[in-house]
């Protein structure tokens, strides 16, 4: 049984069909890359999985359980965590306090939540910024902070929405390394990403969305050579890659 099973979900906002009959599965332990041009419906798909709004039709199952009607906090308690495309730090709290909010998910006491938070911050390499107010972080550190907050809830499935966007090449490499280690720790990952080097380097499988529909899915190398994909998204620059 796949960990996550998305069966022909659709969503429209007014006359705009954001996601059209999208289906895919995520196997336990893999990294699935979700790519597609702006407006392809990637973030909308995330929002439906994470319970921010219900699909108009279709079904989402996690470990066999239908997620219909569950709210974001319910989804979180089913061990699915997500980051936001525009990161949402708790600005007036310190980095440590931000992650402790996630830490309280499974820890009752303040000291246990704090231990969890410190452990996760060490894992993502932010121990040196624990006392900084989150609003004073750089864009990239905010994304790392969001990942840390998610990890503090001890998820089984992590939905990453463009965590490398805005990073310098060196920062991107560091972020890829962290994502790799998260997967090694046993967390399954679905990542939306525009930076091709990251998606191709990390993903076991890639799914290409275009106008709310799947146009290709499979091995990153195969997908990157698919003429339909090249035409829709990657552009001529990648045609010879």
């Amino acid at each position: 049984m796949p960990l996550l099973e998305v069966s022909s979900i659709s969503k429209s906002f007014g006359g705009n069909q954001a996601v059209k009959g999208l289906s895919f599965t995520v196997e336990s332990g893999e990294i699935l890359g979700l790519i597609g041009p702006n407006g392809a419906g990637k973030t909308t798909a995330f929002n439906m999985i994470a319970g921010y709004f219900p699909p108009d039709s279709g079904e989402i199952r996690f470990k066999g359980e239908n997620l219909a009607g569950l709210r974001p906090w319910d989804i979180s308690h089913r061990k699915i965590a997500r980051t936001f495309q525009l990161s949402k730090p708790f600005g007036d709290l310190t980095v440590l306090e931000n992650v402790m909010v996630g830490g309280f998910h499974n820890q009752g006491s303040r000291s246990a939540a704090r231990r969890k938070a410190e452990e996760v911050l060490a894992f993502v390499g932010m121990s040196d910024r624990m006392g900084t107010e989150a609003q004073n972080l750089t864009v990239v550190d905010r994304k790392r902070l969001e990942m840390a907050r998610c990890l503090a809830t001890e998820p089984e499935l992590l939905l990453l929405d463009e965590v490398v966007a805005g990073a310098t090449p060196a920062e991107a490499v560091a972020m890829m390394e962290v994502i790799g280690r998260i997967r090694q720790s046993g967390v399954t990952i679905v990542m939306v990403e525009h930076v091709m080097r990251v998606v191709m380097g990390l993903s076991h499988r890639v799914l290409v969305l275009h106008h709310g529909e799947t146009i290709a899915v499979g091995d990153p190398q195969a997908v990157s050579r698919d003429p339909v994909v090249l035409k829709a998204y990657l552009g001529a620059r990648y045609a010879h890659a």
């Binding site: 979180s76 949402k88 007036d92 306090e97 996630g102 309280f104 410190e118 624990m130």
Partner: protein, 340 residues
């Protein structure tokens, strides 16, 4: 965070010192009027702190807390007048009623985003005030409309929350403030406090981390409503008189909000600071200029609010905290925390 411990020691020491000073105050302040100003200040400190539990920590603005205070005052007073029930018990009954009302008002609003909560609280408090002002009797219970209710005098009767002189009232309200500070301090450090602050900063992000936002907002509202109603009962017993305008009026709600905002919302000490600044300022202007310029104290409140927003958007607590904390540089904090 490791840096907090030094600052925290200083905060605890400073709070304890002020507490001892306030405990000893009745020995030094023998003048009835000055003692009254102290009681009024502590009463406002208590009410602003109760308001702060829901509004300061969650960022939801209530401008209807006066209704909750009015419910507390009226319930305990009506139970005393009509059933002879001691206000010590009546105030708990008032607290329970106010909690039920607070949760009912909050429940639909907290499911929405935007200014609905603030608008609903104003509307609700005003409806309750106007209804009370115009109701002489309901189900055979005398409310006496705008005239208000007087507490029957029983002389020195501690069991009925009545005392000779002001000192016992002073001690009671001081204990109430201390208890409320302890509750706020404990809450701030608990899961609930972290969740409320997360909701205040970003509700979507908080929900993604498993925070059932409606439930936590309602819990905060329930606690705040209960505590506010206890304050309303205290007010009724201390003044031995309540009326809709003073106990349920919009002015009162705004004053509480102002004290919280000026002092520093979402902190234990902030609302108390605000009350200690604004209540005496209000009393002095009312006492010296009140006759000539009615409402001047409100103008002064407005001015203080504008200045506070301009120069101290996080409240008076901000510069004070800097003084007490002397937070070292970030690198210093990092060095300490990695050792920990």
């Amino acid at each position: 965070m490791a840096t907090e411990s030094g600052g925290r020691h200083r905060v605890v020491t400073a709070t304890a010192a002020i507490g001892v000073l306030l405990l000893a105050a009745p020995l030094a302040v023998t003048d009835e009027y000055h003692l009254h100003v102290l009681i009024a200040t502590l009463y406002f400190a208590y009410m602003a702190s109760a308001w702060n539990i829901v509004c300061g920590y969650t960022g939801q603005l209530s401008l209807g807390h006066s209704a909750l205070s009015g419910i507390g005052g009226y319930v305990s007073t009506l139970l005393l007048i009509n059933a002879g029930l001691s206000p010590w018990i009546g105030m708990v009954a008032g607290g329970v009623c106010a909690t039920a009302v607070g949760v009912l008002v909050g429940w639909p609003c907290f499911r929405l985003r935007g200014p609905y909560f603030a608008l609903t609280t104003i509307a609700f408090a005003e409806i309750l005030r106007i209804w009370t002002e115009n109701t002489e009797e309901v189900f055979g219970i005398e409310l006496r409309g705008a005239q208000g209710l007087s507490i029957p005098l029983k002389g020195h009767a501690p069991a009925l929350f009545q005392f000779d002189g002001k000192v016992p009232y002073y001690c009671i309200i001081l204990a109430m403030v201390a208890a409320l500070m302890a509750i706020a301090w404990w809450m701030e450090r608990s899961r609930m406090g972290f969740y409320l602050k997360a909701i205040r900063a970003d509700q979507d992000a908080a929900e993604a981390l498993g925070v059932h936002s409606t439930r936590y907002l309602l819990s905060a509202m329930a606690v705040s409503s209960f505590l506010t109603a206890l304050g309303g009962s205290f007010y009724a017993q201390y003044y031995r008189y309540i009326n809709p305008e003073r106990n349920m009026g919009l002015d009162f709600s705004i004053e509480l909000a102002l004290m919280g905002i000026v002092g520093g919302q979402g902190t234990v000490v902030g609302p108390i600071l605000g009350a200690f600044l604004l209540t005496p300022a209000g009393e002095i202007t009312r006492a010296t200029l009140g006759g000539k310029f009615p409402g001047l104290h409100l103008a002064i409140y407005g001015l203080v609010l504008i200045l506070a927003m301009l120069f101290l958007p996080k409240g008076l607590i901000q510069p004070l905290r800097g003084l007490l904390d002397r937070r070292p540089t970030v690198s210093g904090a990092a060095a300490k925390s990695t050792q920990a």
